[in-house]
């Protein structure tokens, strides 16, 4: 079978499928469970300085299989208690990427240091949660802030730093360039797309917080566009996320330029077994295509485009 391993941000992964942040990532047992189900690595829930309960319920709204709206509000036990969860996942051999969120560069840097202490293999900076006041995308939509925060974190840890970017911007490439200038080893794209649902009978938003973030198949085209644009704009690698459910979806992201991908909503759609299915199906698909490994595919959609650039005779 084809070799599915990949390298990104200094991590050697057995396959490109990472558990996305905020999914199954509150407890060590769940992180371990995702890894044992086949994930190449796991990303923790975004962790902040202090414990946070998040928004009241309802925190989610599900459409047919194509879409999912959430406003969890970054619940997390706080960095003080979280290292024990990381330890459980690490004990099972899982490469753990620690996701952190904060209000400013200093807070991000402190959290990063604590995560390093807890033994994570890399950091992901949540610069992109679409529904948290003074956090996430509210700070992550300015290139200067992305650069400043990334630089602060990079200067305070030796870990590879991944900046997770928001699609709620007119120019995600500018955000990626800012992360690159700040010293990021990679960027992930995308976090959820700002969205809302309204209950017609009750005449009110269905999420307690009002605003939420859209995930699932509906945002795959948006994530692909972002990854494609970022791949053109920077030299650091991209990790694709948004709407991946099948191996075909993952291949689209690889072709757009992603060196690894994250799986979120698909866990709700198909259960944690989705990791096993993805690994099996991607392997089969590569065999069918006669492709030995991922390297040949990563970014290939750019090469094809360049090769034919409108001349009308390439095939």
């Amino acid at each position: 079978m084809a070799d599915l391993s990949t390298r990104v941000a200094g991590l050697a992964l057995r396959n490109p499928f990472l558990l996305a942040s905020g999914i199954w990532g509150e407890t060590g047992e769940s992180l371990r469970g995702a890894y044992e189900a086949g994930a190449g690595g796991v990303i923790t829930k975004s962790i902040g300085r202090a414990p946070r309960t998040g928004y009241p319920n309802p925190t989610v709204e599900m459409y047919d299989r194509w879409g999912f709206l959430n406003a969890m509000g970054l619940p997390n036990p706080g960095i003080g208690e979280y290292p024990r969860e990381i330890a459980i996942a690490r004990a099972a051999g899982a490469p753990v990427i620690g996701s952190v969120f904060g209000h400013d560069a200093e807070e991000f840097a402190e959290l990063a240091e604590a995560m390093e202490g807890a033994g994570v293999a890399a950091l992901e900076l949540n610069l992109s949660c679409p529904h948290a006041e003074g956090l996430g995308a509210e700070i992550g939509s300015e290139p200067e802030a992305v650069e400043r925060i990334t630089r602060a974190v990079v200067s305070r840890t030796r870990l590879p730093v991944i900046a997770k970017l928001t699609p709620n911007t007119h120019d995600i490439a500018a955000l990626a360039r800012a992360a690159e200038r700040g010293g990021a080893s990679a960027v992930s794209a995308i976090n959820t797309v700002r969205g809302m649902a309204i209950d017609v009978h009750l005449r009110r938003p269905t999420l307690a917080h009002g605003m939420g973030g859209l995930s699932g198949p509906a945002i795959k085209p948006v994530g692909l566009a972002c990854v494609f644009q970022i791949h053109r704009a920077v030299r650091i690698p991209v990790i694709g996320v948004g709407g991946i459910v099948t191996a075909e979806d993952a291949l689209e992201y690889l072709l757009a330029g992603a060196r690894a991908v994250q799986i979120g909503t698909a866990v709700a759609l198909d259960g944690i077994g989705v990791f096993g299915t993805l690994v099996r199906d991607l392997g089969r698909r590569l065999d069918e295509l006669g492709v030995a490994g991922l390297e040949e595919l990563i970014g290939a959609a750019h090469r094809t485009e360049a090769a034919s650039s409108g001349t009308g005779d390439a095939l």
């Binding site: 509150e26 769940s30 619940p75």
Partner: protein, 257 residues
């Protein structure tokens, strides 16, 4: 996925427990729960105490939302999504039910479903005091023998209902024990059944947000109560250190409970 249903009936079951009924035609099985949205307040998990097209939830006062729910009058619209989670396996023939507090809410429809298949139940029903015994008449109406214990001895045996379990298991030939109540209680039930060869099945609770197996709020060891539960065979729960000891709170901290 979410439906808005007006409350059709409100019944005060005990001083601390109220049943709300509503019409909803999604199929549901005993053991499953819904996420019940009280607009403007909160959305919380509630087992279905009635699983037919006229569904019901039986709510015990815990805090602000459950108190609010209890005061809701017929006609008020509530949001529901689900039913979620798994259900009781109805293949055993004779089942001992051990209910503590609001635990009877989920065991009553299971008992009725078993009865409809020709099965039989015997019930050990516990409460703090006589007036808090939940669904005693509903169990009796099925023709079940109901054995009662109250903490204050105001009805039946004084003390915890778990004290009844050993004796009942010795006497009756049961194919299973189904239990729902505080986890320390369920642990005692498991202990009492140990050696009897009768398998114990527990319905457990954890904090719930998505109810879709995504957010991890309801993690219990390797399981997610919203999709792997809430009904578990005891042998899956017993090895989990948290069972009977800790829960995750809304922030995901491990807290006693």
């Amino acid at each position: 996925m979410r439906r808005i249903v007006p409350v059709s009936d409100r019944t005060v079951e005990t001083p601390s427990t109220v049943t709300l009924r509503f019409v909803d035609d999604r199929p549901a099985a005993p053991g499953q729960f819904v996420m019940l949205w009280v607009p403007g307040d909160d959305e919380i998990p509630m087992s279905l105490s009635y699983v037919g097209p006229r569904k019901g939830v039986t709510v015990k006062v815990m805090g602000a939302t459950s108190r609010h729910i209890q005061g809701i009058s017929p006609g008020t619209p509530l949001g529901i999504r689900g039913p979620y989670g798994n259900a009781f396996d109805l293949t055993p023939h004779r089942v001992l039910l051990v209910a503590g507090g609001s635990g009877a809410a989920v065991l009553a429809p299971a008992a009725e479903a078993l009865g409809a298949r020709g099965g039989e139940v015997e019930v050990a029903l516990g409460a703090t005091t006589a007036s808090e015994l939940l669904f005693e008449e509903r169990f009796a109406a099925m023709g079940a023998a109901v054995h009662v214990a109250t903490d204050d001895g105001s009805r039946g045996e004084r003390g915890f209902v778990t004290r009844l379990v050993g004796g009942l298991l010795d006497r009756g030939r049961f194919d299973a024990v189904w239990t729902c109540g505080p986890e320390v209680m369920m642990q005692k039930v498991i202990a009492a059944a140990q050696g009897s060869g009768v398998p114990v099945v527990c319905s457990v609770e954890r904090w719930m947000k998505c109810a879709l197996g995504l957010c991890d709020a309801c993690a219990l060891g390797p399981f997610h109560v919203c999709v792997d539960g809430p009904v578990f065979p005891a042998e899956r729960l017993s090895p989990i250190p948290e069972f009977g000891h800790t829960k995750h709170d809304a922030a995901g901290r491990r807290v006693p409970g």
